[in-house]
Symmetry: D2
Subunit: 410 residues, 4 copies
């Protein structure tokens, strides 16, 4: 493996939790380097100020503590562009974790430039996708940056050793963190993912207590709720007629979807690093957004554009999953996708009920749907059925030539 | 348009309904040709014997009346191969109508060969996709066959004219057919589709009475039901441990899904002939089958194969939608897909509840899921986290070279 | 077929040749409509002024005669964007005819708007691709325009009838046009294509006299010539260090390539209308341009972008071949391709010799080639070979899990 | 990096050259393990028996020396399947090195099973693609095999150290190997590649002495030579009417192509490990084979199949280049490609002249080319030109609806 020479100043993605606190201390003790902490509000639903207090307790001077609310940037520049593509990984996963990593790396690298740090550090393990996503993004943004991934380097390979290290260095450990969590969680404004431990047998149904952000469909209201989502150029801009900012819209959709038990997913997926893993995902707002986006595209997007998008999508989703957000090929696909969204403007009506979100109506000034053409009634000459005969004959011609060839050779 | 010289003997796809009865008579009177009727049980849920009676009443001799139960062939040779691909058109449509047409054409052409007919005829209109599907399949199977599409030829352009023609030729018209149906229906073992008339405004929610095969989610049982679907080499072979034939499985899944309100879809789609149309689809069993098939693939299919399948799927679905079932490129894709299914064997547990069907567990002797590799616990050396560093470095190399280039040029 | 109501004023794509002169007269006599002629210099190598004289002779008033040199627009807005994609149809054809049609339609439709014409007309036959290209482009630019395709309408189905019509209407017929040409030709600044008649047997070698624009490789100079082509953002901008306009560059490349016998192609291709045809293409300058563009991309384009381009290319080429230049999906692909060209800047050295044009050197300030990384010598730590072990291990992991599964099941 | 526990018995890919002899000795001294040598005749044009002598000199017992002629297997099971796909990497490279590696790994793993070895070893460096190809293939065939890559492990990092090691262990060093070669070579029946050292500056033309297998086009005969290649189901089976085995055909085509200076390529390519490298490739026979295969496909393959193949090809080529021959996705693509070749049977006539190989004629009983359809003459009703009107109208419909929408919104 590449030897990284000891860093002098490191910007650490710091949550304030036990693990990244141990990393903070380990960076100080292992490398004797200056540490800058970056704590971002991505909508994970945790207070950020405790992270500041903890960082200060561990000797980080105030000017080295960065705490930022990046929710609007997250939704506007990462989540929304991805939803323009209707991106799902392996048919089902809405990429809630994947899409957050590039933004964190971007800020780490930017802060490193501001404070003159030569390295960034993250708390992702050596088995997962997140290390790849963090590091590819960092290198793509600054080819000279060093990336420290303590989980791949240190020998704190068991819970016991970690707690010993914490104790030794007087890192406070909350009582509920003394035992091991029954599963591991990642959360942001787009989703909550849970994996590991009690979830490791994919034959076993996930226990109810794993779900944190959505009510069980069984506990959702007994009457459906209808919601209208307005779009402009492919992005959601309003709910029930009320214009909102990107992060506000996603927050509101999460609330609506969560109340109705929407967006739960139990998935076994293929990781970029080669093994399969099982995750429980909750993406209430994203699930509504995807359904509605497909709904508005269905009337505003030409078939040629729509089908090309569908063919490009799996590759696009794979790139994001694998950590190639900042790659020329993702940017090429984004250019194609964005080009298609110029007229994806209008409104979709969804029905939310007991875990499902379904389009039940859609309308738009930009609609390509032509009742005049499709009607079973007299269409006033909009469409000449006789054209279909020629259309079929010429589409059939190569098939006829094939059939004649095969017949001849029999 | 191609001029078709008058046929001498025609095999007609005959439902026994009013429209195809009028076609039958029109073929006799317009072309003075002998007519052979073919009525297939594709699981549309209608009695077939009345069609025999009606055909006889219209003067078709018994040897010219073909009535066949093709449900097993339909599911085994058409539906199941398609589901191996996880095929959905425009992200959502399970292709229930599209996949039935090639089978009907195949039998029409085969019967034509048996009885020495020079033409086949169908009752699809000139605005839809079905005419294309019928005809491309027919031409691909016999390049010399004539295809008669009366709706594109005759001048019976209004309901009134049709009824007049029926009356004039003493075709019995059921009382409930005197008025116009509020929408048009197509059904087979895979799905029921409804379109036209009351459904023509895509902004308007479809009325309840349109749905014919699924209960409303609101009326479905208040407790979830769990069902286990067994697969072998990509095809469903059992339900809750009981082995069944293909058509029996789909029938049973329809019952299960229908009871729980699963598989309803309200869609605006892009037709091959160029306009958009709105359809209401009910595919209860197919919806369960797709979810379960993805579930079993998630543990038995390698990531490389799975992602390639996802990329090929939209094209495959488009080919079926557009009527190219019997084309070299569909067969090429099928060969690739079938190749991937060798180990897609195992069992998936679904939860059915109020309109949704979700995988909650899956297991297989062919599983590629390795708890040893993925575990958060000590993995006994199955995976060396340090490998990830080299993996990331070499994946990053081209991105670093790019970033260095761009930096240099600034 | 769609009934076109009689046009009142038609803009005709007029070459001044016999066929389009007959069309001009036929439009006047058949429809009694006013005719506007549009004659474009696309680099076909013919004088345009004789077309004006002929049009005037046939009674077209001067204000209805449009004669334009569109060579720069042709190369800049059509040829160059296409070459950014390295587009070849069916592996070999450089799309020289296909890419000219949309430009002609664009001007026809624009002139129609200027002069208040309700229709455009072209001289392409009903068997070829060009009719499709002309008409799809016209309809995409003005959905209400009428398109008149006389070859599909009239009964002048033999050479004799055409000549009779000409005689009857006093259309002058050059002596060498009295007999039938031994093959049919289309030419513009990008290529010359020949097809039909003596070329119709694809087993037979094309006779020498078919080639019009390139010397035979056997007759080319006995010493190679080297040429350096400069690129900026994907487009050629200079030859041997001399900056030139797009059309000037292509003209010069045609001269260079033609002198060395480059760019001859004998191809059987699949037409959009369903049959196969055989064509002889000469694309001397384009052949050099494609080779050089690939050469400059090879050092300036990242592997991820380059491979995505290669995968998108066949679709892109098919769209142009089939006449979908003005379609959302072509524009989406163009957006992706153009995005990739930002750094495709530098110089390529080609060797021209006896029919071949090969890259022998390439250099660029934007180069991604790193001698430091690739060298067999000591690389000073630019690359750590040990990284490769981890890279391989993780790429192998899924294959190992597959192999272990398959072994287990034996 | 993964720690490999010391192997007990290793099968080494052994050329008999200096480098692999040093590796042989190093394995013995570093690991104290038993070594089995495998030397394959892949058509590289070197005697194999000297390798036996050298192995014996280094103490390898006869039963541990495997020397095999695998040329027929190489062409039949690797080269020909790949050429069915018309595979080229990055538009130009015929994959001559890439396709040989899986076969070598296959035999290494098979021999290891026979002799009870727990490891295999190869002499590829840590910077190139070959290490990846060797190892992915080995792991895919035996997930438990160990792979030793001495170049990534040892500290013999300079030429001087290597020679010292050779001297110390009494490995004979040919005089011409004492100095460094001016470039590095790989050869087999399909191609010769040269890279490194004098070739490292991609701006500089490759010196003449690099080329080893083809005459310079300038030195090729002054008269063209014509050759007819016969195909059956996609594979070449005869030359000028004479049936030959796969390896014999490729040998003969190499001779023909080499004499005429065909198949030289100067390329900068993107390696899987992330950097770009420059190579000089000579693939005389393969170049003829590719041209002829495209030629026979042009008349025997339907457009639908041909275009799908073209779209799949870049991915297929990338998989082979990256070492994923033994992967489910390569096998899926192969299944699709092979399915398409059922009728790719017939003969192609090539013209070889001064470095180029061009199709000038092709014929087949399986031809889909229909002179009746394509002719400019009267076609006797094979094709009704009026069909084209309907074909265009329906292809245009969605474009018209788009244009109307965009017009409406202006």
């Amino acid at each position: 493996m590449s030897k990284v020479t000891a860093p002098k100043k490191v910007v650490l993605a710091y949550s304030g939790g036990l693990d990244t606190s141990i990393i903070l201390k380990w960076l100080q003790t292992e490398y004797g380097c200056e540490v800058v902490t970056f704590t971002a509000d991505l909508g994970q639903g945790e207070e950020l100020e405790p992270a500041r207090v903890k960082a200060e307790l561990m000797g980080i001077p105030p000017e080295n503590i960065y705490i930022e609310d990046v929710r609007e940037e997250f939704v506007r520049d990462f989540v929304f562009p991805m939803f323009r593509a209707n991106a799902v990984y392996e048919g089902l996963y809405l990429l809630g974790t994947s899409i957050a990593r590039p933004l964190i790396s971007k800020r780490l690298v930017e802060i490193a430039a501001e404070v003159g740090a030569d390295a960034v550090a993250h708390g992702a393990t050596g088995k997962g996708n997140d290390q790849v996503r963090f590091e590819l993004a960092a290198y793509a943004l600054n080819p000279d940056i060093k990336v420290i991934a303590p989980w791949r380097e240190w020998d704190l390979s068991s819970r016991t050793k970690l707690l010993e290290f914490a104790e030794e260095h007087q890192i406070p450990v909350a009582k509920d963190k003394r035992g091991e969590a029954p599963f591991s969680v990642d959360a942001n404004l787009l989703h909550t993912s849970s994996e590991g431990k009690v979830l490791e047998d994919p034959a076993e149904m996930a226990p109810d207590y794993v779900y944190q952000r959505t009510v069980a469909p069984e506990d959702a209201p007994d009457t459906p709720e209808f919601v209208e989502i307005g779009f402009e150029r492919g992005d959601a801009v309003s709910i029930n007629g009320e214009a909102m900012s990107p992060a506000t819209i996603l927050t509101k959709l999460n609330e609506l979807g969560g109340n109705h038990g929407c967006g739960r997913l139990d998935l076994v997926e293929g990781r970029f690093v080669g093994m399969k893993s099982r995750g429980i995902y909750e993406t209430p707002g994203g699930t509504l957004l995807l359904e509605a986006h497909r709904g508005i595209e269905s009337i505003t997007l030409d078939r040629g554009a729509a089908h090309l998008k569908d063919e490009l999508m799996p590759r696009y989703a794979e790139l994001i999953y694998n950590g190639f957000w900042y790659s020329p090929e993702r940017e090429m696909l984004q250019a194609a996708i964005d080009k298609s969204q110029e007229h994806v403007t209008g409104t979709v009506k969804l029905k939310l009920y007991k875990g499902s979100a379904r389009t039940v109506g859609r309308w738009s000034d930009h609609s390509l749907y032509s009742e005049a053409h499709v009607t079973f009634e007299d269409d006033g000459g909009a469409y000449d059925q006789k054209d279909a005969a020629g259309f079929i004959q010429l589409n059939a011609l190569r098939l006829k030539l094939l059939a004649a060839r095969n017949k001849r050779l029999k």
